[in-house]
């Protein structure tokens, strides 16, 4: 009833933690069995280790939060050595988020990570707003995103999902460009670029100045973008942005998502993913829905 099958990802339920909100699973794995999850999305891997930005790295906003972690991670080699073997022992599918500041970084990281048996698919993070140089063009210029997708696809041994940035004028153009370049799926949305200023210091709260806005506040933007894009592409969409409960999951499916990821809500309630997975079949029952796949895009399907 809640099984979904996407390129590389055979999910017994459509709920996974979002990249960067779950590290490599060890912490939440100490609280519950990761095999309850549809999949695990791991924190962005880059070719070299990254320490990330200075602190403060998070700030609260109305129904949301800003983060500027800056892709802190131990680098692809360490991840392969220390993190993936632990996940390999689990039965849960792994979606590996990768990032970089140049095409070559992405390609090299994709090559390494996609080869690992624990990894079922790649998620190409072309949209991290918290990295200073490079980066931005990948997420905002269709041709640049397409070229990157094409090159990563050429080396990846696993299906590739491209994670889109919402900070663009035309999200459909971005989606179509990466689809044409061979993307197997889309993840949307990453965070909106935002800022908070501290009234005492009179400076931005985040050391990085700007950060990525996530949480319930951005849900209407995510729903709108998924609604628009899902009508114009044929590849599946992993939807995310403000999901807190089973109702939200259903809203994302109706908009056009085929699976969902939960980010910020984990910080509010560390058990939120298993809770949603438990609620979902109950909710579908009350709606008279026998298979969640029926709901995909129903808000716009005739």
């Amino acid at each position: 009833m809640i099984e979904v099958h996407l390129p590389g990802l055979d999910l017994k339920n459509p709920v996974m933690p979002a990249s960067g909100c779950f590290a490599f699973g060890a912490e939440y794995g100490a609280l519950y069995d990761l095999n309850e999850l549809g999949a695990v999305t791991i924190k962005a891997a880059t070719l070299q280790p990254r320490f990330g930005n200075s602190t403060p790295r998070v700030a609260e906003t109305p129904s949301g939060m800003l983060n500027a972690i800056g892709l802190q991670n131990p680098g692809a080699d360490q991840i392969i050595k220390n993190e993936l073997p632990r996940l390999e022992k689990q039965k849960v599918p792994v979606l590996a988020n990768i990032a970089g500041s140049e095409v070559d970084d992405y390609v090299a990281t994709a090559k390494k990570i996609s080869r690992h048996p624990a990894v079922n698919a790649l998620e190409l993070n072309i949209s991290c707003p918290n990295v200073k140089h490079g980066g931005i063009q990948f997420g905002t210029v269709p041709e640049v995103a397409a070229e990157l997708t094409y090159k990563v696809k050429a080396v990846s041994e696993k299906p590739v999902y491209v994670k889109l940035s919402p900070n663009v004028t035309d999200i459909v153009a971005m989606a179509k460009a990466v689809e044409a370049a061979g993307a197997d799926g889309l993840s949307m949305i990453n965070t909106l670029l935002g800022m908070r200023i501290d009234l005492h210091t009179q400076k931005p709260v985040l050391a990085n100045l700007t950060g990525g806005l996530s949480g319930p506040a951005i849900k209407p933007v995510a729903i709108r973008m998924i609604y628009e894009v899902s009508q114009k592409v044929t590849i599946p969409i992993i939807g995310m942005g403000g999901i807190q409960n089973a109702d939200d999951v259903i809203e994302f499916f109706l908009a056009g998502a085929s699976a969902v990821a939960v980010g910020t809500a984990n910080f509010v309630d560390p058990f939120v993913c298993p809770k949603i997975i438990k609620e979902l079949p109950e909710k579908l029952n009350t709606m008279g829905v026998t298979d969640i796949n029926e709901l995909i895009g129903r808000s716009w399907k005739k």
Partner: protein, 261 residues
């Protein structure tokens, strides 16, 4: 670590904008060290929306028999989450995640020994539970507690019951005038523990170099359990394998000079 709706047993303002909150629940059984903290979810009211993120607050003390823990926090004033928390009444429940983090190593002080406990402002609360634990092991404790002003002082008599207690205020309106560091030379000790503003901790790390010193840090947090990387701080050792520590789960208590302040 569990998530629990804990029952409010008492809640009162014990100094200017400083509140003492007593909560009852199963979680108390899991506390292993003084200096651990809890992550508190705060509810809203009509003209103030509930904040999204939890608030980290140190466990001040805990009593396993009555399954009660005590938190002491400063209300940040209108518009803050902690101000909203002040509206919680006895009998209400509060959503708490904990116990979290690594606290003060009590066994590092080999009894019989003399421990010096240094606190500043809302850094004082976790030191009370620490002092209780040390005193229980027969360790002689001396407290140096700094506050801004007379109206900010709390828990003086509680600390005095456990050991010699010096209270200082920055403006001299109560106790001795000055900063906690001014007193260090006059007090004999074998091990020191501190919690308070970063400049105070930095001064202590520079002064106490020949004896063990443990410091408890603050950092903005999201998850509170080590998964989001919000609360990291760099190690002082550039050759450290990871190069960073997470305040929420590797700390909040660290050996002096282990991480950058």
């Amino acid at each position: 670590m569990i998530q629990e709706d804990m029952r409010v047993m008492a809640h009162e303002e014990i100094a200017d904008h400083i509140f003492e909150l007593k909560l009852q629940g199963q979680m108390v059984q899991q506390i292993t060290e003084p200096g651990q903290f809890v992550h508190v979810r705060i509810s809203g009211k009509t003209d103030a929306v509930a904040p999204l993120l939890r608030r980290p607050i140190s466990i001040c003390s805990a009593d396993v028999k009555s399954r009660t823990l005590t938190l002491i926090y400063r209300s940040g004033g209108l518009g803050t989450g902690t101000e909203l928390l002040t509206h919680t009444r006895t009998g209400d429940t509060v959503d708490v995640l904990g116990p979290l983090g690594h606290g003060f190593p009590v066994s590092e002080a080999p009894a019989p020994a003399r421990a010096l406990i240094i606190g500043g402002g809302v850094g004082v609360p976790p030191l009370y539970g620490l002092s209780q634990a040390l005193a229980k092991r027969g360790i002689q404790v001396t407290h140096v507690l700094g506050f801004r002003s007379a109206k900010d002082v709390f828990y003086q008599t509680d600390f005095e019951e456990l050991g010699k207690t010096f209270v200082m205020t920055e403006d001299g309106t109560y106790g001795r005038c000055g900063r906690v560091t001014d007193l260090l030379e006059t007090v004999p000790f074998d091990i020191a523990y501190a919690c308070g503003p970063t400049p105070m901790l930095r001064a202590l790390e520079q002064t106490i170099t020949d004896k063990p010193l443990f410091v408890s840090l603050e950092q903005r947090m999201a998850c509170g359990i080590g998964a989001c990387m919000a609360c990291v701080t760099q190690t002082t050792d550039p050759n450290d394998a990871k190069g960073y520590r997470r305040v929420c789960c590797d700390g909040p208590v660290f050996k002096a000079r282990e991480v950058e302040l």
